[in-house]
Amino acid sequence: MALDQDTVRRVATLARIKIEEKDLAPMATEISAILGWIEQLSDVNTDGVAPLARVVNMTLPMRDDVVTEPDQHEKILKNAPQSAEGRFFTVPKVVE
């Protein structure tokens, strides 16, 4: 399956990665080569095969829905590139 530049541009937008125009073509070539190699999976007959959901047979445990780590503002914000008033992450303006 060959990917064109428009598809790479669209996928990059979905993935929120800025790709320069000049880099679209080489990236499309690389990804197309990998997807072409992956095509071999169409040789495998998977009729009636259930997709694997977990590798080890176990039931996910339930836990009580309780707060275990209250008020961690300081720790959580400590690594933020920008924050305000010790309470909030800040981002570029999103409402006009």
Partner: protein
């Protein structure tokens, strides 16, 4: 003092208990080697001063009779494990300046057992690679060189820093993580032991996630016994990881009985892959012979879907990575590159913060999960994965373990890497299938290539049967008697 760095963990624990030396002495000796090994670029962050303090505290605990299972043992931590108060990078630019306010469960358990961390070890960016060449912090150089050659070799990846510094004797053991072979392949390239436990054996909590249905932490050491001792302290149920297994953790070192009589060792026909070095095929035959001589029964088994494992992996792993790496958005931690809008800030940050291999995998993952392609790629891959897992299940009806090569070739040169990503992916041809099935795998160094580089074999086992894997590994280790030392540290 140099001999202290040649000890195994088991020997060092005896020496510490007998007061032949202190943890301070043991730690200082390993710091000295680690300093001398700086040209290998194995560390991203050194914590030597903290290690010296921790060693003093360890000696004090031991004097009071309070020593933990691995008290005073110098180790390194792959820089994918979050460590409280110590920078954690995942080998990426996008985590710039990130200092975790918490400790990963596995590194925390090792600390609680008394180990002394000398620092955070280099790796491929987000553990995506087989050469350690994708690290933002530069490649790691293997402590090994070919006979009569000065060409720098790769240590393998993604746990390349871990493998290199254990082989160079800068630490006694290191943590690794294995998603498709990232413990076992670098262990093979560097001539050390690498153990990927069963998926769920060790908690993934606090480990920077790559592909959550595959990632598993494990030890990298210079002996099988040491791997067992490390796993004793790393394994166990963790309520913070809902996929960690709530089953008892045995004393894995007790599995090393040296007795494999009557054990059935499967040899999968499909692992005779084209492109495998003839020396590795010969070593594999030698390994079969060693186990036969030790009383094991060799059985031929078939894993018919083996050849589809890599393609399956390169759908599932990027798909899960694209979801896991969505969190790096420039808002909560790490790098932020400004933009006029929120979306522009995200896109600029992720363009600057992720390296090429990571970007490509995120794009592939996003594509195979996107509307219209999910069934053709992701669902198809999960179905083939079920067939691969079923191959193993059927094989283990007629055998107890499988014996295979670990990697198809010895280590390659830093500048001999092919630009073709698929050629690089083929390094993991023997390790990826067991990752997809969640099975335990142990890489053991068993010989040298004609040009003096380590080669290894891999033992695969049933889910949660690390004990049998370790038992066979011990026998293989004893038979191979691998005693070659890397070029680094030989007074050259």
């Amino acid at each position: 003092m140099s001999t202290l760095t040649d000890l195994t963990i088991a020997e060092a624990l005896s020496g510490l208990a007998a007061k032949t030396f202190t943890s301070v002495e043991l730690t200082d000796a390993h710091i000295a080697v680690s300093e001398a090994a700086r040209p290998l670029n194995a560390y991203i962050t050194e914590t030597f001063e903290a290690a010296r303090e921790a060693a003093k505290a360890s000696d004090a605990r031991r004097a009071k009779g309070d020593a933990g299972a691995l008290d005073g043992i110098p180790v390194g931590i792959k820089d994918l494990f979050c460590t409280e108060g110590v920078r954690t990078t995942a080998g990426s630019h996008i985590l710039d300046g990130f200092v975790p306010p918490y400790e990963s469960t596995v590194s925390g358990k090792l600390k609680a057992a008394g180990t002394i961390s000398l620092g955070k070890l280099n790796l491929d960016e987000f553990a995506m690679g087989s050469s350690n060449g994708s690290s933002y912090h530069g490649p790691v150089i293997s402590p090994w060189k070919r006979t009569g050659s000065d060409v720098d070799l790769v240590p393998g990846g993604s746990s390349g820093g871990s493998a290199a510094i254990v082989a160079a004797r800068g630490v006694m053991a290191a943590t690794g993580t294995d998603t498709g072979g990232s413990i076992r392949q670098p262990a093979a390239f560097c001539g050390i032991v690498g153990l990927k436990p069963t998926y769920g054996r060790c908690s993934r909590w606090g480990i920077v996630a790559f592909a959550s249905s595959l990632d598993q932490a494990g030890p990298m050491t210079r002996s099988v016994t040491d791997a067992a001792l490390m796993l004793n302290s790393m394994a166990g149920f963790d309520p913070k990881d809902s996929t960690s297994a709530n089953i008892a953790v045995p004393d894995f070192s007790k599995a090393l009985t040296g007795d494999v009589r009557g054990l059935k060792v499967g040899v999968p026909a499909e692992y005779r892959v084209e492109g495998t070095s003839p020396e590795i095929v010969a070593l594999w035959d030698q390994g079969i012979e060693w186990l036969k001589q030790a009383g094991a029964e060799i059985v031929s088994v078939s894993l018919p879907h083996t050849k589809y494992a890599l393609a399956t992996y390169y759908i599932i792993a990027p798909a899960e990575a694209s979801a896991n790496l969505a969190r790096y958005d420039g808002v909560r931690f790490g790098l932020r590159v400004p933009g006029n809008t929120l979306d522009e800030m995200y896109a600029n940050t992720r363009a600057a913060g992720f390296g090429h291999e990571v970007q490509r995998r995120i794009l592939i993952g996003t594509y195979v999960l996107s509307a219209g392609y999910y069934d053709a790629y992701y669902l198809k891959a999960q179905k083939v994965r079920a067939l691969i897992a079923d191959d193993f299940r059927q094989a283990f009806e007629t055998c107890d373990v499988l014996l295979t090569p670990t990697a198809p070739t010895a280590a390659f040169g830093l500048n001999e890497t092919n630009d073709d990503p698929i050629a690089m992916y083929l390094n993991d041809v023997f390790t990826v299938p067991a990752s997809l099935a969640g099975l335990p795998g142990l890489a053991v160094p068993t010989g040298l290539s004609s040009d003096g580089l380590p080669l290894g074999l891999q033992i695969l086992g049933r889910p949660f049967d690390e004990e049998t894997v370790i038992r066979v590994g011990g026998v293989l280790e004893a038979a191979a008697n691998f005693s070659a030392r890397p070029t680094f540290g030989q007074g050259a």
